[in-house]
Chain length 303, copies 2
DNA sequence: CCAGTCGGCGAAAATATCTTTCAAAGGTGA
DNA sequence: TCACCTTTGAAAGATATTTTCGCCGACTGG
């Protein structure tokens, strides 16, 4: 038989369209129809069985298999697999179009993609822009701290609470304040071995700068987590950790990306401290995990 | 409601590893073996027939098919197709090498890089695994809601508050509860046009399931944001939004990635609602921005 | 113009693969 | 320990793929 020739090529990865063109002249009419259909719509054809594709091209199963062979695959099954791969490839190829801003009439799927992309970008930017020396210094201070006060209002307040929860979990004495009065009142108590952390995206939120100033003046080690390292908050900060600022838009307020960025910084602080205090942190973490387990209803399909 | 779940997701494109992780806990031992094998080597498995894969995992064909079903495919054939697609995908996008776990003695710079990478991964997985139909339905319900109650305790409580803040900002009537008693007490008030949202990573946190159940029984539209869509919480949820689960480690508790994932979902909800209610949301957003501006100290290094 | 030959083609048989069923093994709680 | 439920794989049943086989039309030489 003449198809010895067909075995010449390996499975052939993605250059299917090219192969079809090259081989087309040596194909019979029916086979050409199959090959063209397949090249034109890999994704659609990947969903079809031999019979389905035969019908769609107005040919028979045998012809489809013959075509697959000619294209270099052992049989239709493998052609179909390759087709699926090709489809996935094309799919990803047209993804980068999500860099645009989120519009009012974007379909929900686009919103998800764009948001995820933006937040990923924010994370990358933050990681790249974070000063590891400052971070290390802050970690050292926290690890040795007698008491830790954290200030944050609005969206940053949630980040403050997040850090608070985490630090508690590894056995540190921490407090988070969203109430400026309470914050200042408590800041007065701080001493030199203590640490105060202010979280503010704008770098100029009076409500958190004020307690940080008090802490600073009391001799505590002060840390600022801010998107504006040149802002007023830095005046009273021994260590400044910079969060990144993504472009914002009407539908995507700054709070969203700043939060992502702040949380990454806070997580880094947490892990850093957990490393340094591993001896005491590990059992504390395990213990809090244990305690939680009992709050989950025992039943349910968990195994 | 929970059994329908298997068909919940469309073929699922690339987030297979994430899906495996999400669903692993609800799998039997044998199925886990199959799922892990498949996740670890998509390309290799794509070349195998049911029988082959069954042999390789030391299980039976039936188990392989069952696993494929659980992962959301109609049968093994389709899983295999998806695998081929995934393989092609991986082929092109060679992943970076920072995938290692965070160790106790990692320098701080590595911690930053790994954390950022992991969270990016979590975002990608979440976005890929999010059912846009369910999301759209949840958005519709929220947009038309008379009142919105949000339940979350622990780390998820912060996410609940985040959503709460955002919804308030666009003029919706929302409440976040971390106190289970208050939550239930208020859930009783809900009526059919209202919406209740439960946020729980484990899917089995009694403290948030209880109020959701009450809301469900009162006829409110209920939404669950959970990493375990097969967990008890889904019983009382009209719409289930699945968050992804990243591998965790001693130093990197699950709470960290689940939070990232939950926040993305919550952001998507928010943007979705903001789009639908644009007429009223835009001025409300602008107004809240205005109001905040006054809380920031006017310029530069004042004081 | 006709008979003979050849390649292309598809129907259907043969085979491989996938899916479902069912009963036994293993585990769990009373 | 026993009854009950879950998990699991063997084998039957259903589909899909591959192969076989012969028809059909086209071309060729008489």
């Amino acid at each position: 038989m003449k198809e010895i020739f067909a075995g010449e090529a390996p499975p052939a990865p993605a250059a299917l369209a090219a192969k079809v063109r090259t081989l087309a002249p040596s194909m019979t009419r029916s086979m050409q129809r199959v090959a063209e259909t397949v090249a034109a719509d890999p994704a659609g054809c990947a969903a079809l069985t031999v019979t389905g594709l035969a019908e769609r091209t107005g040919t028979s199963e045998a012809t489809v298999v013959r075509t697959a062979r000619l294209l270099g695959y052992p049989g239709y099954r493998d052609l179909r697999l390759a087709l699926a791969g090709l489809a996935a490839h094309q799919q990803s190829g047209r993804a980068p179009a999500v860099t645009a801003d989120i519009a009012v009439d974007d379909p929900i799927a686009d919103v998800v993609a764009k948001l995820a992309y933006d937040e990923q970008q924010t994370l990358a930017d933050t990681a790249a822009g974070l000063d590891t020396v400052q971070l290390g210094a802050a970690v050292s201070a926290l690890s040795a701290a007698g008491r830790i006060d954290i200030y944050g209002v609005g969206a940053s307040g949630l980040v403050a609470q997040d850090l608070h929860q985490k630090l508690l979990r590894i056995g540190l004495i921490a407090h988070a304040f969203s109430d400026p009065h309470l914050a200042v009142t408590n800041a007065v108590q701080l001493r030199s071995k203590d640490v105060a952390i202010a979280i503010t995206h704008s770098g100029s939120t009076g409500d958190v700068i004020e307690p940080l100033r008090v802490a600073f003046e009391r001799g505590a080690t002060t840390v600022a987590i801010t998107g504006r390292p040149d802002g007023p908050v830095s005046q009273y900060a021994d260590h400044v950790l910079t969060t990144s600022t993504a472009r914002e838009s009407e539908l995507r307020p700054a709070a969203m990306s700043s939060r992502t960025s702040q949380l990454l910084v806070v997580d880094c602080l947490f892990i850093g401290v957990a490393q340094r205090t591993y001896e005491s942190a590990a059992p504390a973490l395990a213990a809090s995990y244990e305690a939680l387990a009992h709050r989950h209803s025992p039943r349910g399909s968990q195994r």
